[in-house]
Structure formats: C-alpha cells, structure tokens
Symmetry: C2
Subunit: 425 residues, 2 copies
C-alpha cells in the first residue's frame, strides 16, 4: 500500500486544493492520502476562517483519508517551523512513502539544491545572511539575497534563488530541508502550480486562492458570497462553510480580535512583550507604540509593519500573544524535536484502517480523544495539548454566536468520522 | 463665601441630578458648588456611558462650578471606598463648608447614628457581622443584619437599619463615616429623594434614573432614544450626549468589553486572579469556570453572581482586572490616606477663582494639565495617575469610532473651561 502525505491549511478547501490532492494521488498511485492540517490558526499568524473540525471534514469529503492536526506553535510558525512540524509528523507516522507539495515550476531538483545549502548552512552563507539582515531586510528577503550571492561566489551563476520569491517554493525548500534534517526516507514529490498564487486577492473561478475566497466572505453577505464561491469551492466544502456560517460559528476574522489584542498590549510592559516568538530587540517598543495609536486590528498591523518586519511576522507575534505562546515554550517544543503527539482530527474507512498500522509503527502517542489522553508520560505533551486548547478557547471568542464561544471544545469535540472513502465509493 | 461639595457620577446627568444640585445650592445658600465626579468608570464597577470630559461638561452647563475627578480605584470602589475617596478629596480642598447628598428620608440624625457605630466598630458588632458573613450573605446584607441585631441587643429596638437597604442611604452613611474618620469640619447636609430609585430601570420623565436612561440607549437607535430622553435630561446634557453619539465616542457599554475580559480570564490562572480587589478565597475558581462557560459579558456576570457575590461586586472585579487595578496597589493607595492629588476636570469662572484659594489651602497637588504634572515628589501620585491613564486607555476601546480608541487622552485632553457661571449669567 502506498501512502502519501500533504501538509495543508485548507482555509478554506477550494478547487486548487482538490486539484493538488487528486494530482498527488494519481501521480504517486497512492492508496491513501494523509493530511497534516493546521488547527484553528494558520501560517499567516491568524485565526482560520472556520474551525479545524469543519476544515477536516471538507478535506475528508474531498478525498483525504486521514487528517492530523499540526500543533499550533508549528501551524502559526514561519515557513521553517511550519514545514518542519508537518514533515516531522508525517515522518513519525512510520508509514508514509511520499510527501507531495506544490511549487511554481514543479521541478524538484532546483529546490533540492537550495535546500541542501540551507540545511548545511556553510559559514560563507551565514556571513552573507548576517550582512543582509543588518542592512534592514526582512528575513525572507535577506535570505534570498544571501543565497544568490553565495551561489554566484561559488559557481559564478545563480539560476535558483528566484525560487525563494514564491511562498509555495519557500515552503517546498523547507519541506526538503526538514526531510534532510530528519534523515527521513519519505520521498519528496512536487506538483506545479495551476491557477492563482497563494496571495492573490481576486477570485478566479477554479483557480481562486484561499485569500481571495476569504476576502469575498469578509465583504459580502453570505447569500451573495455563496453565488460567487460556487465556481471556486467543491460543493461539499461550500455546504460545510454554509452550515458554519448559518450556525454563527464562522466566518472567524482576525479583525474581531483587534480590541482584545490592543487591550492586552496596552496592559503589558515592553519588557513582557520581549518574551514572544519572532521578536527582536526594539520591536517591543514598536508594538507598544502601535497599540496606543491603533483602534483596530488592521491599523495595529499596519502601524507595526515595515520592510524589515513583515505583516505576517507581526500577525504571528500578535496571535502568539493572544493564545499564550511564548518563546520559552516554543523553544522547549523544538528542543523535544517537534510535535509531541499525533492528534487525529478525522478519517474515513481507509484512514481508520491506516491508524492501526500507525499505532504499531510510531514512537509518538496517537490521540483520537483528547479527554482520555494521559499526557503525563510524554515530555511536552501536556504543554502542547494545553497550548492547543488555550488557542482554541481564544479562537472561539471570534464566533458570532455566543453559544459557540464556550471553552473546552478540544476535549469535547468528537473526531470526524466519514464512513466511506473515495476508494470505497 | 459658602462652598459646598457633592460626590456624583452623572452617568449621565439628568433632571434628578439637576434637582439635587439646585436644592443643595438653595438649601445651603452656597456661592459655589464643587463636584467630585467619577471618571471613566463608576461605582457599579462598569465603564461610564460617555467619558469623564463629556460628563464634567454636562455638570458645568447645569450649574456646577468646579469638577474634580474621583480616582478610579475609589470611583469603582464599594460604597465605603467611593464615599471615603470623595469625602477625602472635598476635605483636602480646605475650603468646603458642607457636603450634600441624597437620602431616602432626608433626615440626617438616623444616618448619623448608624455611621457612628460603623466608624467605631464595637467588638460585639464585629462578631455579629462575622457570623452573618459566614452564613453566606453578601457584605451589604450581612452588615444590615448585624447592625439590626446589635441595635436590638443594645437598645431593645431597631428603627434605623432598614435605611441600609437603599443605595442612597448606604452611601449617606458612608459619607458620614468618612467625615468622622477624617475628623472633618465639613457639615453634612442631606436632601430627601424625589423620583425613581437609583436602580429603577423604567423611564419616568423628570424622575428617571440614570439606569433607566442607559437602558433606553442600549435598546434604541439614537433618533428614537433622543425623543424618549427629552423629558428626563436637561437640554444641555442631551446635546452633549448627542454630540458624543454622533462622533462615535459614545455610548460606551460594558458588554463591548466582554470578549476582552473573557479572553483575559481564560489566559490567567486561578492564582493570578486572587490578586484582584474584592476577591475572597474560592471566588477565583468561579471566575475561571464562568469565563470558560460564557460567551458574553452578561453571561459572565450572571454565571458568577450568587446571593453572596453580588453582581456589582463581580463587575468591580472584572473591570479592575481589565484596567490593571490589583489589591496591592489599592492597599497602597489606602495606606497613603486616599487620593494623592486633586485632578481638575473642568470649571466655570467661579470655579476657576476658587482654584486659587484651594491651591493656597490644600496639602495635595492640584492638577489641571496632567502632562505637565511632576508626580515624582508625591507618594502614590505616579501610580494613581498611571492607573487612571491605563483605565482610560482601556475605556476608549469601547468607542464605536476607532479614531477615538487611541491611548493617552488623560494627558492630551484639555480641562473643560465654561467661561460663565450660573451666578455670572
């Protein structure tokens, strides 16, 4: 049996995701597709449009067999941490043969070359990176320049670093780097992008980005948005989205957390802010100043963002603050080697069968019911699950319907069980 | 020149307040009326409907000559602290001849008898109070029962403690107690109530309570509310209210702070909650539990409130948490003897003239421009002004218009100067 893994957010699940999932299955002749999916927060540093259970359901109804949660510290992490957390989970399952991810070109060799340098971090490269960073560039921009210089110094030319300009390729390189770092036997497979880039804000039918879908939802009534989204999302996903909106459990937008986050920063000292992930000296004062001057989430992010401090990085800091993730606990997780457990969000019949083989192969505990899980024996598991639950308990405060704002759903929600798989059907 | 003082909230200023102010002036033949007014939070423990500058302006346009801010720790305090802070400020001015407050009966002798016992706290009374409290009653209810028992034991009868059932009389007794405690020479004068009780929720024209006015605003569009309130509020006050609402700076309702407060409590441990004012052993767990179960401010308060823990007490705890007032700092203020400065919110010509004589007589610094005030020499002044500013910086997040949500208005807003007094006119 061939098993492939995909790391994804599905925020929300659209035709581009469906295309990727189906291509991955076909290309690799996979019998089973495992998704490692972000929970209630995403790599952009912001809360997801609808909660993780709804998004896992979307994935399962569109062909995924098993959905595993990427713990929030990694789900909200920079590309390096996001990819590392995802690959580490897939690797820890002990059954996954290949990982499939999208890239601009669909050619893996170019990405591999860069990944090797980044995994290796030769001294010359490190010096170049330091120089670029001290020039005031953001990390992604500095890294691209440093790599380009390094390749030119070394080989007299550089054909590859332009790859580091697209989010897809940046993630691709990070997946490859993580595989190298873990000495994983999982085979990397990449699928070329069709349709809009990750950040495109305009709806384009089957090729619409998740960003553009969220934008449609943020500015339109559901009745109208639904019509617009029919050509961009599979029917099953759209129905789930509709159900969540009708219940008042979604859409959840970052803006609704603005007053809470501003209130929090105003209550804190600059020194206390220093302890957050992705901070650096001086940024704490920018945060304090911006919180004093801003009345909304959008203003807050804009008032902090510069060329050096990207909006995504600022968003990660703000929501890390909200959910109670500090650099100490994040460092602790990483010192343990990443995710401390395999937390199942949902499965179909194929996925459920796979779970048994996973249980026999993995070193990590498998959680299907968090309330029954004894975390005490596994280093970091208590802290990781507790952070996950705290993150959810803040996330639900963004629901329009107060009924869904209660705490504890991480311990009370049942795993999603779709009792028929694409293969069985 | 005869100068009288009134401690008030004016949340918002209505005909009942006007009647009280005018009666006080007439009854005492006063030349000048000084108001000690709550700032942005009130004795109910909640944010005021419109900010302190707007409310000071209402008072000045309705006959007050000088408006002084009651620091937030006292403004949000139980009757004892509220009254103590107010009386201490009036006493510290060194020029006030009388304090005027409302009571049910308008008879001061009955209130004096109770105040004397409470100020004195004889052992027998203390024992009785302890017994009632341990029976699970709230403090006000326990105190009334203990006093009643004490009076019956001592004199075979009790005609007075029923007074402790009305908020007006409870405050009256506390004003008298504070005067005794401070050995103040200020003469107490009480004016009998006309119109609705403090807590009445129904509008009754000239006799409407502030509670009923706030309720009208919470459930009606301004266009309609304005018509309803014309018979309950003086024209000048209604115009100021209208201006604030049109600007989007008001009305500010406690409910809009619900998500921030729930988010805060969910992030905190029960142990951390213990450090808040008005807490007692076990209540921290009730707060934690309720924050997990509640989606709105109203639910939160209801889920914590019991016979023993009154809603007002809970509200004080919740907003103390929001503004950063803990029992340590509150204890420190009290150890200093109350308010550390005289902070002027506004004046007319008479009030401004009075300010010069106050400056010559008082031991406390007089602040008319907080930005220029050097707090460093006065014990507690830095902490008190900083708490006031923090409280404001949270308060403004309740404004509908994001433009008014910026921090720092305590240091940038000018004192209200109404350059004509009732006498001059």
């Amino acid at each position: 049996m061939k098993i492939i893994g995909i790391v994804a957010e599905y925020n929300p699940f659209h035709y581009g995701h469906l295309y990727h999932l189906q291509s991955a299955r076909r290309l690799t002749e996979a019998d089973c597709v495992v998704i490692v999916m972000s929970g209630n927060y995403t790599q952009r540093g912001e809360p997801a449009l609808v909660n993780k259970w709804a998004r896992a359901e979307m994935a399962l109804l569109s062909g995924a067999d098993l959905v595993i949660e990427l713990p929030v510290a990694y789900a909200m992490g920079s590309a390096e941490y996001f990819a590392f957390g995802g690959v580490r989970l897939l690797d820890s399952l002990g059954v996954v043969n290949a990982i499939c991810f999208g890239s601009e070109s669909g050619k893996i060799e170019n990405l591999q070359k860069i990944a090797a340098i980044l995994a290796d971090e030769p001294e010359e490269y490190k010096e170049l990176l330091k120089a670029q960073l001290s020039g005031g560039l953001s990390f992604p921009a500095a890294r691209q320049k440093a790599l380009s210089c390094y390749l030119r110094d070394k080989y007299g030319k550089d054909r590859h670093t332009r790859l580091l300009k697209s989010s897809n390729d940046i993630l691709g390189v990070e997946y490859l780097k993580a595989l190298l770092r873990l000495g994983s036997k999982i085979e990397p497979v990449t699928i070329g992008r069709v349709g809009s880039g990750y950040n495109s804000t305009e709806l384009r039918g089957k090729f619409s980005s998740a960003t553009s879908i969220r934008k449609v939802l943020s500015i339109n009534q559901w009745r109208y948005a639904k019509k617009l989204l029919e050509s961009s999302m599979p029917t099953e996903s759209l129905s789930i989205l509709e159900r969540e909106i009708e219940l008042g459990r979604g859409p959840v937008f970052p803006a609704s957390f603005g007053p809470s986050i501003i209130s929090l920063i105003r209550r804190m000292s600059a020194d206390e802010l220093k302890g957050l992930p992705y901070m650096e000296a001086g940024l704490e004062n920018r945060l304090k100043l911006a919180a004093d001057r801003s009345g909304t989430y959008e203003e807050l992010v804009n008032n902090i963002t510069t060329r050096r401090y990207t909006a995504t990085r600022i968003q990660r800091i703000l929501f890390s603050l909200l959910i109670g993730l500090d650099s100490g606990i994040f460092g602790y997780f990483n010192s343990l080697g990443g995710p401390a457990y395999i937390r199942i969000l949902g499965f179909n019949r194929t996925g459920r069968r796979l779970l048994s083989s996973i249980r026999g192969r993995t070193d990590l505990p498998v959680i299907t019911k968090a309330a029954d899980f004894k975390t005490s024996d596994i280093p970091g598991a208590t802290e990781m699950l507790s952070l996950e639950s705290n993150a959810t308990n803040q996330y639900v405060l963004g629901c329009e319907n107060p009924y869904f704002r209660t705490s504890g759903s991480d311990f009370t929600h049942n795993v999603i069980n779709i009792d028929s798989s694409a293969k069985d059907a």
